[in-house]
Amino acid sequence: MIADLFPHAQPGAGLIGGVMIGLAAAIMLLGLGRIAGVSGLAARATGIAGSGAPHGIAIAFILGLPLGACIVASVTDWKPATYSAPLMLVAAGLIVGFGTRLGSGCTSGHGVCGLSRLSWRSVVATGLFMASGFATVAVMRIAGAL
C-alpha cells in the first residue's frame, strides 16, 4: 500500500536501518549507561562541552559513525547524495550546532532515546524540531528554493 501511495519511499530499508540505530543506542544505554546523543557526544569528543561522557567514549562513538557509514557504502550499491550549496550548509550547520547544544539534543538523543523513554522533555523537543523542520521546508518551497 505504501509502495502504491509513495513509490519513492523505502520503508524496508528505513525500518532495517532504524532498527540498527536503535540497537546501537541500546548498546550505549545497557553497556555504558549513557544516551547515544550525537550532538552531545560530538561536543564532548571535540572538547566543546565541559561536561558529559568521558572523552574516550565520546571519541570512539563519534569515530564509529563515519566508519560504519564507510563499511555500508563499500558493501552496498551506495551512491553519493546531493548536498545543498556550501553557503547554505554553513548557515544550516551553525544553526544546528547552536540549537542542539541549547536544546540539549538532536534527532538521536531526543528523537530516538528520549521518545522511547517517554521523556517529557524529549517529547516536547522532538515535536518542536519536527514542526520547525516542516515549516522551514514549506517556506523554502514557497520561496522557490526547492
Binding site: 509513495f6 519513492h8 523505502q10 530499508a13 528505513g14 525500518l15 536501518g17 532504524g18 532498527v19 540498527m20 536503535g22 543506542a25 548498546i27 544505554l29 555504558l32 549507561g33 544516551i35 550525537v38 566543546i48 565541559g50 561522557a53 574516550g56 570512539a60 563515519p66 557509514a69 564507510c70 555500508v72 557504502a73 552496498t76 547524495a81 546531493t82 548536498y83 556550501p86 554553513v90 548557515a91 544550516a92 550547520g93 551553525l94 544553526i95 544546528v96 550546532g97 540549537g99 541549547l102 540539549s104 538521536s108 531526543h110 528523537g111 530516538v112 522511547s116 517517554l118 517529557w120 522533555r121 516536547v124 523537543a125 518542536l128 524540531f129 520547525s132 523542520g133 521546508v137 514549506a138
Partner: protein, 135 residues
C-alpha cells in the same frame, strides 16, 4: 572494554544511518516537505529505532548498573524550559535548511567529505558559540 562498546555502538549507528536513508539530505528534506512529493521513509526509521530502544529502557529499569560501566549517567526527563524549546526550534530550522542533522553529517565525512565539511565545521562553530554565550 568501554571504548570497544562505544566504537561498536557508533559504527552500528553510522551503518544504520546510511542504510535507512537518513544520511541522504534529499530524502530527509522529502520527509519534511509536506507540500511536495512527501516521502514517509523517515517515519519508518524512527519507528524502527524506537522499538529496540523501548525494550532497552525496560531492561535498564531492572539493572542496578550498566553491563560495562559502574553507573548510569542519564539526563533528566522533566522540566521544560525556554532553552529546550528555542534550541529545538532552531535545530529544526537548520535540519530543514541543510537536510542534515549531527549524526548523518558526521557519518558522511567518510562518504562525501568535501560536500559535508562546510556543514560539520559550521556545526562545531555553532556549538562553540553556544559555549561562549553560556559561560
Amino acid at each position: 572494554m568501554r571504548i570497544i562498546l562505544a566504537l561498536l555502538s557508533g559504527t552500528l549507528f553510522g551503518a544504520g544511518l546510511v542504510i535507512s536513508g537518513m544520511a541522504d539530505p534529499g530524502r530527509v528534506r522529502a520527509f519534511l516537505d509536506l507540500f511536495g512529493r512527501w516521502d514517509p521513509t523517515l517515519a519508518f526509521v524512527m519507528g524502527g529505532a524506537i522499538v529496540p530502544m523501548a525494550i532497552a529502557w525496560t531492561v535498564q529499569r531492572r539493572l542496578e548498573s550498566p553491563l560495562g560501566d559502574k553507573a548510569f549517567s542519564l539526563p533528566e526527563t522533566r522540566g521544560i524550559d525556554t532553552r529546550l524549546a528555542v534550541g529545538a526550534i532552531l535545530f529544526g530550522i537548520g535540519w530543514g535548511l541543510g537536510g542534515l542533522c549531527p549524526g548523518p553529517a558526521i557519518a558522511s565525512l567518510s562518504l562525501s567529505p568535501v560536500a559535508v565539511a562546510p556543514f560539520v565545521l559550521a556545526m562545531f562553530a555553532g556549538m562553540g558559540l553556544h559555549r561562549l554565550f553560556t559561560r
